[in-house]
Point group: C2
């Protein structure tokens, strides 16, 4: 906690200041835009960008993480609150903060219970599918704001302004960085310059709207001054907010961890997932107390923070200070940001989340993972973002259990004249009558125990003369309680049929475990250090 502050060196300051300024300039339009996605007043997006990063700077472990509003979490907030209140109403704003409070408590509790391993419930293909599905839902949700009316109708000035903003932002994304480099900027500065295009387009559009007196919807009056302490709560809604808070807390953690992990790898940092949970939990409670809504560490914003030079959380402190100053300074101009342009910035931002690289790799590498990705994206589109989280967990676990239910098991034969034993299907190995050597290439656990027993039964049925079965456990890294019962039943069955059951090449940690069970005492056979020793003793018997 605050370890970075104790070791702070002067040399780090320049980077932190430049990153702090760049991210603050990014944060103003982005915070307001993601507040729109969440259905709360735009100023709440700025509130949610001040206290949460300050709190995260105290409790979090990632040096360059930028905590604040994020598109997918805002979408989930809107999905959770939509059935409970009218977007933009006072109750809705109260519930948004209450949802941040509950999500924060959930995260904090998970951190204190040290169950950070929960982040491992989502596979990457499933996360990619979830992101793609959410991005499409978010972009689609902004189309009517961009067009200034519900489809298929449209409002000409809004559509023209929104369309022009969209075109400019897309062009900037594709060509601005190369152009700035051609103009002599160094590559890092050019990249950061390109990231500020949304701010520039929003300012340009605001000026244009004021100048031409265009009749388009704008953000509306933003109250001046720092956020007040928010203690408003709707006691009637605790129950209905609990399940969304669990799902949102889970996704806050997942999204923040994947951003932090990508950065930690670059910076050779060590993350502590349980401290991250505490940091994110405290940040969300802070968001609730300052009238915000659920926040998380964002991959795209943190990447900008990192490349703009952030060395420590001081960068986030500077960002927060600048945003606070913007609220204390005259805020009249913030009321004039045209909504169609903000919608365009959202659409372009989430288009960046539509990366198909994971799908492309999975299609070539593992069809099951590719299918899980597509099914999760389809699930989000068809059943919504909350169901999508559950679908994602089920599909991650489903692919895992499905693979586990087809363990690789090899019949071993002896390579003539050696002490080596190999899969007889891949190599020509000799077998001995009455002796069956099976190598199980998977840790034994509840997901494959029946499949392993069935396969053993099949191999025995194919070799009715078998008198001794040796399980070669060189690749078995663990045996859980379910598999221990499976082995015990196999042992009983083989004893009943007069077949010996032997184990060979049992790993140290596995053997330590088995010594605490009854299996070894009851084993209808012996334990061999090596397959060769088992062969020497058993192959001669028949």
């Amino acid at each position: 906690m605050l370890g970075w502050l104790k070791q702070y060196r002067r040399g780090l300051l320049a980077g932190d200041i430049s990153a702090g300024i760049v991210v603050a300039m990014m944060m103003i339009p982005q915070g307001m835009a993601y507040a729109m996605v969440a259905g709360v007043p735009p100023v709440a997006g700025i509130y949610a960008s001040i206290l949460p990063p300050l709190i995260y700077a105290v409790f979090g472990t990632s040096m360059t993480q930028s905590v604040g509003p994020m598109a997918i979490i805002s979408l989930m907030t809107a999905a959770a609150l939509g059935p409970l209140a009218v977007a933009g109403s006072g109750l809705y704003t109260v519930l948004a903060a209450q949802l941040a409070l509950l999500s924060g408590v959930v995260l904090l509790a998970c951190g204190l219970l040290r169950i950070g391993f929960l982040a491992n419930f989502f596979s990457r293909p499933v996360m990619s599918g979830f992101t793609i599905g959410s991005a499409i839902v978010i972009a689609w949700g902004q189309v009517s704001t961009l067009a200034g009316a519900d489809l298929p109708r449209f409002h000409v000035p809004s559509l023209m302004l929104g369309g022009a903003s969209l075109a400019l932002l897309l062009l900037a994304r594709a060509y601005l960085a190369p152009l700035l480099r051609l103009a002599g900027m160094n590559p890092a500065a050019a990249d950061i310059g390109a990231r500020l295009a949304p701010m520039a387009v929003v300012i340009g559009a605001t000026v244009l709207v004021a100048w031409l007196d265009l009749n388009v919807r704008t953000t509306g009056a933003v109250p001046a001054g720092l956020p007040r302490l928010n203690m408003a709560i709707s006691n009637a809604h605790w129950r209905s907010l609990l399940q969304p808070a669990l799902l949102i807390g889970f996704m806050i953690f997942l999204i923040s961890m994947s951003a932090a992990q990508a950065l930690a790898l670059k910076r050779q940092e060590k993350l502590h997932s349980n401290f991250e949970l505490i940091g994110l939990g405290a940040a969300n409670i802070g968001s609730a107390l300052s009238g915000g809504f659920p926040v998380t560490g964002s991959m795209s914003r943190s990447a900008v923070n990192f490349s703009a030079g952030a060395n420590t959380p001081l960068a986030s402190v500077i960002t927060a200070a600048l945003l606070a100053i913007a609220l204390v300074a005259p805020t009249g101009w913030l009321a004039l940001l045209p909504l169609p342009t903000l919608a365009a910035t959202i659409i372009v931002a989430v288009l960046g989340m539509l990366e198909l690289d994971t799908l492309r790799t999975a299609l070539r590498y593992d069809r099951g993972d590719a299918l899980a990705l597509v099914a999760t994206a389809a699930g989000v589109l068809a059943m919504g973002v909350e169901a999508g989280v559950v679908i994602g967990v089920v599909l991650s676990m489903g692919t895992l259990i499905w693979r586990a239910s087809r363990p690789h098991i090899a019949v071993l034969g002896r390579i003539a004249g050696t002490e080596h034993f190999r899969n007889i299907e891949r190599h020509s190995g000799g077998t001995a009558p009455g002796l069956l050597l099976l190598r199980i290439d998977a840790g034994l656990f509840f997901g494959n125990v029946e499949a392993v027993n069935q396969r053993i039964e099949e191999e025995l049925a194919a070799r009715p003369a078998t008198r001794d079965l040796v399980l070669v456990l060189s690749a078995v890294n663990a045996i859980d309680t379910s598999a221990l019962f499976g082995l015990t039943e196999l042992n009983q069955m083989l004893r009943h049929r007069g077949i010996g059951l032997h184990l060979a090449e049992v790993k140290g940690p596995v053997m330590d475990r088995l010594n605490a069970s009854d299996l070894l005492a009851r084993l209808n056979g012996k334990i061999y250090l090596s397959t060769a020793m088992a062969w020497d003793e058993l192959a001669g018997k028949a």
Copy 2:
């Protein structure tokens, strides 16, 4: 399908007939008792014991499975229907059949989609915890029926009859089989005789009630004749029944598979989980059409069927025929079965499910599994049987992911003068400056990819002079798409830092997969067949 009929031999007939008779005698009180648990009229328990086993005989794959009402599934039925209708009402009975129909369709669909691997989502400790929790809930639910009034009140004749029945059944369970053996019966026959104690106690109690004209509640008029075709449906309830049907379908499959697997191991049979799904699905649709409620294969009943001599599903056909005859014959006596005695049979039956052997083993063998068991049982008690299923899946997966998040990784050293490499913490092995050999003892997948990368980062941080990292993959049985990305990122990061990344002892199937990816082409190092080869080439470099 019906393969057993084509190969039927005369020698099998005697066993099938005796098992058919024994199970029919067991089924009459048990079917009516489990109908009580489910909240439907007692006769529905007999209906559910006729058509379902006949249909399972055609589609199922287990030779000795006995399909019909089962305590836990009846409890789940009551839990699902309780909020929708008043137990015993006409609507309730319609919904019970409709729930069987939906569960059957769910099972059938899973079978046709070939997703029988779903049975692997529950670990044994979790199943044991679920069973213990359910048994307590069921037994507790029968106490008021046994006492003849809602607690803490009681009705003296009911309590005396119920208490006496309970005492007799407990004594019979403990001493009847040994007594029969002492009386000269062979052990198998003595065991079966003891299993018929509930039928004997029920008949005795019925006679006693009629003789003494005791004022206790009885089953009430049972309509004579075979079940009629039931097509009654409540269209308003499809939606509310869907989620219970999914959970009940899952548990029907799980319970039936564990019974069938235990028997298959004894009989050296091969089960086909997808055909089992189809058989159970069709059986439940049959139960719905004949006015029954959800059914499954029961461990205890199937064990009796097996030990009474059943060789093929003909035993179940005979059971069904006998039950049909009982309904066609005068059924007046079936109306007089005293409910306190039936409640006693239920309590004794579910006490048999309270086995603590799994807990005892898990406590010694694996505390995590023991905790999952206790938490699942507590979950069923605190939050009900439906939530218990979800809790069970989450805890099974949770223990799995938790273990995966702590992979075993060993730093290898060379045993002097040999080609052998061992964990330097367990053996004294030599290392070479600049060369780090890490053996990963776990398949790489989304559940451990970050933990592995973190651990590698730690080992590198502890050895800043490292120029070459060799990952020894001799125990890595699979690498999924998430782990492929993890390795790719590791490779980029190491390239950036000027450290070589090499792989050694990659297994055949893993190598086949990796060849379909970009990783090998981009690898900042080489692939070595053996650790010794990597050592010879890399240890000399520094």
